[in-house]
Amino acid sequence: MQRTAEQIEKDLLRPIFTSSAKYWIAVSIATCLLLAGVCAFGYQLYTGIGVWGINSPVFWAFDITNFVFWIGISHAGTLISAILRLCNATWRRPVTRCAEAITVFSILIGAAVPLCHVGRPWLAYWMIPYPSQRGIWPNFRSPLAWDFFAIFTYLSGSTIFLYLPTIPDFAAIRDASRGLRNKIYRVLALGWQGTPRQWQRLEIAMHIMAIAIVPVAVSVHTIVSWDFSMTLVPMWHSTIFGPYFVIGAIFSGIAALILAMALLRHFLHLEEYLTPLHFNNLGKLLLTLSLLWFYFTFAERLTTWYGNSPPEMDVFWESIRQHFAPLFWIMVVCNFVIPMPLLAIKRFRTITGTAIASCTVVIGMWIERFLIIVPALDHKFLAFSWGAYRPTWVEDTLMASSFGMMALLYLLFT
């Protein structure tokens, strides 16, 4: 049956004007998590970063894991919607918005993490190139500096990318609301009237952005991967990290997207708009990426094993046989063993199926990041200075709160 424009509008705008009790509970939980994180960070700021479990030689752990993880998640949106837009996959339309939102928010978080993780956060602004009486600029040879630019570009790019297509909707809300809300949306709508010319311009702008954003997205995670592959650290010093990270990013991104969609669909009763078709297609994508991910992981390990350089083998065995073996195999299960059947077999590729698969993938991908960072660090070249790592409550809280922040932003967005 055909739904009238009014009805569609009513359905879609419902959550903006009316919010259920469930919604507020969710919001408050997310807020608590976020606040906990803020407190934890305050404590860290006051006492020193030693309240984390990091030590010598494991100077990076949860912090950078979260960073890479969230930047990875951010590939959900932009890339997907952009690619899908470029190849005119018509089923994509409802998906894009959720996707792009995820992107923006997770970049925000991903960008916040490194600022919290430095030893002296109050000086983190030195990463920004600005003329000062000191006459010193950031070190443009440093991958961290590249990160800064890449992420900043990606953030601004994807914000615009998210913003452009929303203009008409803002206009719609503007017309449907009054008071302060009306004021705000009036500003956001940029005086959108919905004239054909405006539509046409918007379409062009969207296409340009779509084309522009893809290389940016790819470059961002490649650059993130260079944080590691630019060093001499065994198992970091790898040439395939670029594509490996990008694939991993899209992989986790889509998983996150599916999850988000599933939740939205369930709580906002958008069954008519987010149909099994979407989940089915995204499921297929996820499947492909799962295979790709497995191929890369395998290739990376294989080359290491074949290269058989002693320091690398130390890390290799450390991560798959010794201390980190449990984590490693959990990761493999989460990223491959579980998703495979769920996504490969058509009968399982249901909404629930894909949701479960994505759930495990998100977990698995977080572990993957952790396994890239920590085992390499605590088994660096000189055996005498090998170490171990155990997170403290501060790190746990900060991680939890990063998820809390994501949830909160997303809730407020809907």
Binding site: F59, R120, W126, L144, V233, F381, S385
Partner: protein, 235 residues
């Protein structure tokens, strides 16, 4: 003539007495971490004596090896620092500029020798232990990476002195704290650009090796391998 400071470690002379470690703590205001932090792997030592066992009783072999910042010419720690806190000086030192350090700890991860110490907290000295602090060296605060500087404060004051007296620096005019305390003269510090200096002479010995030299970091610290009684004649 510009200098290129270098250190030679004669593993055949080193007795593992660790006088260098204490000398470094005293000279460079390196804080003691305390039992709890030590257990968390947060001791700060700009120079450490590594010990490796080979073989079992009754024929165990032990090898002592002092490890400090290798002051690499091709240092992995330098390019990764986003703020130039870790950079290469004209005299070939890997400088660590404390006030420019924001504590990303990237340099410490990149360093294959794990010789960088990080201030996880503000260091503490139970008064009046603070009176032992060397006024020529800054006291680092929380969130700052630090490491062996080849006793740059000694280099600077010697250079200023020589400048005041309008002369060139002489070899052996000054040395690092570790080398000065080393009873068996296992550590020798000097200018590698001066072909006649003791350190250049030793560095050109046929026993000389570099720690993890295969990584291509071009260290300015040279290790002289242990010899045996038999090969003594041809050393």
């Amino acid at each position: 003539m510009s200098h290129r400071w270098g250190l030679v470690v004669d593993l055949d002379r080193c007795t593992g007495c660790e006088a260098c470690v204490v000398a470094c703590h005293a000279e460079n205001n390196v804080p003691t971490a305390g039992a709890d932090q030590a257990a968390r792997g947060r001791t700060m030592q700009w120079i450490r004596v590594e010990r490796t066992w080979e073989g079992d009783f009754p024929n165990p072999k032990v090898r002592f090896q002092p490890v400090l910042c290798q002051q690499c010419d091709n240092a992995p720690c330098e390019p990764v620092c986003p703020t130039y806190a870790s950079y290469h000086t004209p005299e070939g030192l890997n400088a660590q500029v404390y006030n420019r350090c924001i504590g990303t700890r990237f340099c410490a991860n990149a360093c294959p020798y794990t010789v960088r110490s990080f201030n996880f907290f503000n260091p503490k000295w139970e008064m009046p232990l603070n009176l032992q602090l060397n006024p020529d060296v800054s006291v680092r605060s929380v969130g700052i990476m630090e490491k062996c500087t080849f006793c740059v404060q000694r280099i600077k004051s010697a250079e200023i002195q020589a400048e005041a007296e309008k002369r060139e620096l002489k070899d052996g005019e000054f040395t690092t704290a570790c080398a000065q305390s080393c009873a068996s003269t296992a550590l020798v510090f000097g200018d590698l650009n001066d072909p006649n200096s003791e350190v250049s002479r030793l560095a050109s010995s046929n026993r000389s090796t570099k720690l993890l030299g295969e990584l291509g970091t071009k260290p300015n610290v040279t290790y002289l391998e242990r010899g045996t009684w038999q090969d003594a004649k041809n050393s």
